[in-house]
Amino acid sequence: MMAAPARLEPPRPPEDTAFPPPPEWDVLQFDGSDRALTDTLLAPLRGVGRTWWTLFVLSALGTLLFAFTITYTIAKGIGTWGNNIPVAWAFAITNFVWWIGIGHAGTFISAFLLLLNQHWRASINRVAEAMTIFALMNAGLFPILHLGRPWFFYWLIPYPATMGVWPNFKSALPWDIAAVTTYLTVSILFWYAGLVPDLATARDHAASTFRRRVYGIFALGWRGSNTAWRQHRIAMVLLAGLATPLVVSVHSVVSLDFSIAQLPGWHSTIFPPYFVVGAIYSGFAMVLLLILPLRWAYGLEHIITKRHLDAMAKLTLVMALLLTYAYVVELFVSWYSQDPSERFTYFVERPRGAYAVFYWIMITCNVIVPQIFWWKRFRTSVGVLFAAGAAILIGMWLERFIIIVTSLDRSFLASSWHLYRPTWVDFGLLFGSLGQFGLLFLLFVRFVPFVAISEVKRLRHDLKANDGRELGLPHA
């Protein structure tokens, strides 16, 4: 049958969590035909509304700002930033770590949960993966941009140079290059491999010949043959298995940029796990910020259900608790170390120093705000989730700022102590990168199936087969 896509608002969930959960708590509530489902999920590709255009213009302006500040920086030199000696790193590296971290949630959701057979991920993994890629594209820019001579960034890559000089693999920065490029590559491969069947659907669903051709090219001639599906499934599992260690490794490597140094506030063994948790945490926040408007704008409440929001909120809370633990351990270790500089950094400079206000904002956003997710009411309230997500993103940016700046501005010798003040260029780059991220994401939503159609269909039929209850293994 050809039922039009139904936009049914699921009623408010009961306060008590009865089990089995009522149907509106399903991971999928679409009851139309596959055809209808396809129409719904591909609707954005056929055209977009005023909201999209508004956001597009905004983020396009942001992107222009980004382009301008980058050009200005390269033309004039990074003296146009607020950095100095001792604070030789600040905004650029903060932005880098922040964006990389955001990327992690994508991989976590798509790869990690795939291995764990968390089917509910089907409705949001595509968005999450795209987010990862765009975040990494931003992140990758900053380390290059912050160089004194950015045009020589390729000297960090081991290519046979005429002078016979090579990178120094004892430094964490070549590790960074390796980790980030690998991460970006694998993310793109994983994303595209998963996308091909849906591109085929888009091809076959396209209205105009032109669109059919374009999607046809990207669909590579996918026909959904049994062989193809089988190999595809194997490949996806393999890719997921390879991407999962990246979730753990990439931000661990990023954290080494700091912890291999002997600077108080950087020189800490807890950094790798601490950074990974923080990364996934901020990523989840960003996913919330992306899917909440999406499901509202395209009426996907029956595809991205309260069940998803609830799950996301729970995961966010878990990450918040892990992060809090990391904070506490950090403080304990610095106290336990008896090292005067360590203690000064953690107990004087950060909570009471020049940047103390940002420190406490960070604590509020990262530790206190997420505690509201102990209540189901908040876990499923779109407004609350959105606000919390925004707060967490701010908190996580500040966390990196605090780690970098409040360690550098008060290092060993008091004679060289000096504070850091950002310039308009610093802010321009930060907000510009947000603009670029928004632009890329909007284009993605406009031209690429942002829900994994085939996976959702498969999921639907599996759900039907098990009369709507949770599934054990996907394939009987």
């Binding site: 396809t38 120094n168 004892k170 062989t227 599906w229 490949a235 393999l238 080494l256």
Partner: protein, 191 residues
């Protein structure tokens, strides 16, 4: 073509000598049909579905995929190359006194080695997948069928090679008709 050669590599060819295809509207009906055809001894069968239908995988046997061993090998190679580059550049080609550290610093070399492993393995998985599937492949006889595009939306197709030993003469189309599909069509040979 011997049975042994019916590995994943040879399946879903461009039907050199043409094929017969049947269209179904429900997964269950379609899966049953596949089972019946197999029961009748048809072996050169391929199916086209909008989403994976695991149930028929049991019915259509295939030789184990070569992807996992391929990825494993690529991973090892990537790791080795990764470590070798670091060892050669820092300890052999141009060793320097860097902060009094040994030129060959295995602990420091671990991370790029790991990244090399993942990168090579992932690339192998991706490239391997599409190589095995002979993709990209912009044209295919099935695309000639009017309405085949619904195979990626909500229709399920079965195609049987016209040269299938079991289906000499017009047996195959009849066998297909017997499965009560929406329709049966002749797929022109591409050769």
């Amino acid at each position: 073509m011997t049975d042994a050669s019916w590995g994943c590599r040879m399946r879903d060819t461009r039907w050199p000598s043409g094929a017969y295809a049947a269209e179904f509207s429900s997964e269950r009906h379609f899966a049953g049909a596949v089972a019946i055809l197999r029961g009748q001894g048809y072996s050169k069968i391929e199916t086209y579905t909008p989403y994976p239908v695991p149930r028929i995988e049991a019915v259509l046997p295939e030789s184990p995929s070569v992807l996992p061993p391929l990825v494993l090998l690529a991973g090892f190679a990537g790791g080795l190359i990764g470590y070798w580059i670091q060892w050669y550049t820092n300890a052999v080609s141009y060793p320097l006194n860097i902060g009094g550290r040994p030129a060959h610093a295995a602990p420091a070399f671990f991370i790029p080695t790991f990244e090399g492993t993942i990168l090579a393995a992932a690339t192998a998985a991706f490239v391997g997948l599409f190589a095995l599937l002979r993709l990209p492949q912009p044209w295919h006889p099935m695309f000639e069928i009017n309405g085949f595009e619904r195979a990626s939306i909500d229709r399920f197709w079965i195609a049987v090679d016209a040269t299938d030993a079991r289906g000499s003469g017009d047996l195959t189309p009849r066998a297909l008709e017997a499965l009560k599909p929406l329709r049966v069509v002749r797929v022109p040979g591409s050769a």
